[in-house]
Each structure stands twice: as structure tokens, then as C-alpha cells.
């Protein structure tokens, strides 16, 4: 229903520089990763957009992630940090990132530096006729343990079967959303189901999603939280709620 409207609104053209872009990353246990990620992001955004902002959302990390993020925001004038007093989790942090981002395009990746934002570059022209562009990694090329690979495969398969749709590598955190998508869909999930929820809602509203291949790099520092039992449980609960229209 939003499709035609979306087309009309899409005045920015991807062949030139993007009009304006917000970048955000959730950061937890990333004191060593942020100093590698943010300078690279800054350089990349300077190349592809006239106006941009960088938002680091520090999710109550017990290490010095917050301090490192603050230092980076002093160094880069268009970067800012949001601190959570307590650890609210990945979904809630992502949700806040979307909430805080104000520009025409919204890009995100995780603070753990497992993706290279430069991999967007050859595929930015997909934004000509897509409302969302999302990276995907071949499951067998993911830089994670076999158990995580299996989890990821299962999650994707379940979503596709459960919702009778096709979405690729849902939780790949290298995506760009156009502003009008974010303005027209609601986001309810606070769990890691958020990625799936947003893609499913966007599909339902006839927004166009295009995928491009990316590399998943080995984590150099920090810890992952994705396979903790309570994280998985919350995600499954949100999925069931969403399926039955009560999320």
C-alpha cells in the first residue's frame, strides 16, 4: 500500500552522493573494536554522503566501551554517544538507534567490527529502486562456531516457513533503511527478533528489499551475546507473538 507513495518520496538518487545519512551501532564490550570501526565509518560516510551523523549506543557495557565511545565523539564532531545505565539488550538498543537517527537514510552495523562498511560501496546503487538494502553472508562462510551457524540457519528457515516469505540472512547487521520505511512501519520488538520484525513489516507494506553479499570477519575483541539462552527465549517469544498478531 505504501509502495507508490514510497517511490514518489524517493527523491534522492544513489548515483550521486546520498543526501544525508545516519549511522548507528550498538556497542557492548567493544572498547577495542570501536577505535577500529568508527574512523573507518567516518571516512566511508564522508565519501558517500553530504551530511551524516554517527551514533554509538553504548549498552551499559561493564568495560570501558563508554569511555572509548566518548573519546571518539570528541574527535569526530558529527559523532555522538548514547549511554544506557543498564544493559538493555541488542533489540532495545537497535530500536533506539532507529529512533534517534534523523536523516534520509539510516545505516547500521554492530560495534563488534565483524563487518566492513566499505562493502556497501559497490551496492549503493541498489538504493535506486530498493527501500532497504541488506547484506548477507553465506551460512558456511560465517566467522562463527558451528553451533552459531546452525542457530542462524534454523532462525532463517523458521522465519521463512512461519511467515511464508523469503528473507535472506535476517540478522546480518549491515543494512540501510530509507527514512520513509522507518516512518511507515512500527517497531515493537525489544529482542533480537527486531531485524526479522522490521523486514517482515516492510515486506507486508510492499517496500522493496534488495540483498548484497558481504564478508563476515572474525571478531578481534569483545564477546558475543547472541546465543545466551534468555536472548534466544525472548526472540522466540517475540516471534510467536508477532505471528499471532499480538506483538
Amino acid at each position: 500500500m505504501f509502495n507508490n507513495k514510497a517511490r514518489e518520496k524517493n527523491i534522492s538518487r544513489a548515483s550521486d552522493k546520498l543526501s544525508s545519512i545516519s549511522f548507528f551501532c550498538p556497542a557492548y564490550h567493544d572498547e577495542k573494536n570501536l577505535p577500529m570501526l568508527i574512523p573507518k565509518v567516518h571516512k566511508f560516510l564522508s565519501n558517500i554522503a553530504d551530511i551524516f551523523e554517527i551514533i554509538i549506543i553504548e549498552d551499559g557495557s561493564p568495560d570501558n566501551t563508554g569511555g572509548v565511545a566518548d573519546e571518539l565523539s570528541l574527535k569526530y564532531s558529527n559523532a555522538r554517544v548514547i549511554h544506557h545505565k543498564n544493559n538493555l539488550g541488542y533489540g532495545a538498543t537497535l530500536k533506539q538507534g532507529f529512533q534517534e537517527s534523523c536523516y534520509e537514510y539510516v545505516m547500521y552495523t554492530d560495534g563488534d567490527y565483524q563487518y566492513d562498511v566499505y562493502e556497501f560501496e559497490p551496492y549503493l546503487n541498489l538504493l535506486y529502486d530498493a527501500d532497504i538494502i541488506s547484506g548477507y553472508v553465506d551460512n558456511n562462510r560465517k566467522a562463527v562456531s558451528t553451533v552459531r551457524k546452525l542457530q542462524s540457519f534454523l532462525f532463517n528457515t523458521i522465519i521463512c516457513v512461519f511467515f511464508v516469505t523469503y528473507v535472506k540472512d535476517i540478522n546480518c547487521s549491515l543494512k540501510i533503511y530509507k527514512r520513509h520505511v522507518l516512518d511507515n512501519i512500527i517497531i515493537r520488538s525489544d529482542s533480537a527478533f527486531i531485524d526479522a520484525e522490521m523486514l517482515l513489516r516492510a515486506k507486508k507494506a510492499n517496500f522493496v528489499i534488495k540483498y548484497f553479499p558481504v564478508t563476515h570477519y572474525q571478531r578481534e575483541a569483545g564477546i558475543a551475546n547472541g546465543s545466551k539462552p534468555n536472548v534466544i527465549l525472548k526472540t522466540i517469544l517475540d516471534m510467536i507473538k508477532f505471528r499471532f498478531g499480538v506483538l
Partner: protein, 304 residues
Amino acid sequence: MHINMIHINNKIVITGCGGMLGEAVYREFKNISDVYASDIDCNESWLDFLDVSLEQDVIDYLEKIKPDYIIHLAAKTDMEYCERNSDDAYFTNRDGVSYIVKYANKYSIPLVYISTAGIFDGKKDFYTENDRPNPLSIYGKSKYEGEIEAGKAYKSIIIRAGWMMGGGPKKDKKFVNKIIKQINTGAQKLNVVNDKFGTPCYTYNLAKSIYFLLNNEHYGIYHGTCDGDCSRYNFAIALVEYLGLKDKIYIEEVSSDFFKDSYFAPRPYSEKLINIKLKKIAPHLTKDWKIYLKEYTKRFNWIL
């Protein structure tokens, strides 16, 4: 751990949500609760029709939804229209509020009402939350009476806004878009008054303040403007600079008399507000108006 009062399953009714502030408030709340947005101009697919000046319609709408919170933005804000149609101004800006309050008190739910710097007479240099209102125009009078009505709610948050900026090319009905529209039609010289002073107010920022006050149950009267103040002339100079048009657009200082035929409603000399109360409880919430103006100019494609 901080517990959010406003929950994802809470129902929030936002009236007058099709306007420039409504856009920001809808965006702020749509992902954190169940939002029911309405307006008399249904310019978005997510808006219901509701004319708040019709008592039975308001009752029916609220009884059907049974909201947990109400954010009442609906108002007649065109000052010249209000001067010419005073009955209509009072029906919406005063009576509309009283219908909403009646419902809010029946179920003891919190109500947010947005008021204006226009309730003051402008004789003082700046106004705090405790200064005595003395409105000059029909708009100011009707909004002040609306404020008195809103104050009768058991749980009310009254926030006085300043010179509004926000909404972008599509929804901004105020100064920024008026100036940009002139530039877009080819004007190279703009006449801007230098004898009216006020405090700008950024809708996206005000929306955050509304959330903060509501979520933390800080009831009472607040000023919701940015920090700092300026004249219309100072504001226009900054706007043109941030648009990168400093060398192309000349701004001529004129007195209000210059526009007295088209803007005939009495406007206070000073509409400067300082937000002492909000600043005390949430110093992080507001910044200098220039920071927000700069952000605002970059946020949209104004096609200049």
C-alpha cells in the same frame, strides 16, 4: 533499574497529530506504545479523523479506544484565523480541552497539553514557568483558557512551546518553511522583522521532552523551548547561513509595521521563554536553538 511507565501495550491517543509537532510526537511514540493518532486533516494513512471541538465525537472516540495516555496537540494555531473566527478558536482551543479533560479525569489518566509563549503579554524580557499569563490575541487567550482547562486534569503536563520549527518542507507551517518557500520561488532579498523576540522550539526535541515528562510522571507546567533566544532577524540570518546561502540572500531588517496588513493579530514584543523546571530535572534534554536549527536544515531536502 529504571522502569518505563509507558509500556508497549499502553494505548496513547494523540490529537492534532497531522501537524508539524504531531509528526515528531508520532515518530517518538509509535514504536514504544500503541498509538492512536487523529486530526481534522487526515494527511497520513495512520491518522483517524477527529474534530476535538465536537464533544460527542471526542467522547465516542475516547470511549472506543480507552487510552492510557492522551497527548492533546489539536489546536487552531493560525493567529489571523483566530482573530477573524474567535468562536471557532475557543471551540477548539478551550472547549476541546475540556472534553478531553472530562474523559481523562473519569479514568484518572495522564494528559499532555501543549500551550504557547503567546499567553504572555511580552512586556517582560523573558518568562519563567511562574510568570503570570496575560494574552493579547484571540489565539493567546483561547490557548490560555485551554491551559486553565488542562490544569483541571488530575494528572496534567502542560508544556509551553516557543517558535516552532520542525516537520520539513511538507508540514512546517511556520517561519523556517515560510522563508525557504520565498527562497525557492527566487527571492534574493527577504524582509524580516527585528522587533519581535522569542525562543525557538524544535519539534523533535519537544517530542522527547513530552516522552520524558510523561514517562517519569512529572506533572505540572513546563516550558519546552530550546536554550537561548533571538529576534526573527537573528533567526533568519542563522537559517540562511546554515542553508549555505549567506552570500546569495540578503536579509533586510524591517519593523513589524511592515507586515501589519497580513499579520494583523497582536503579537507580544517578547515571547522569550526559559525552561527552568525542565532544565533542573533533565539538563540533557534541551540545547541551544542554533544547534537544532542547524540539524533541522540538514535533516530535509529543501530543494533550494
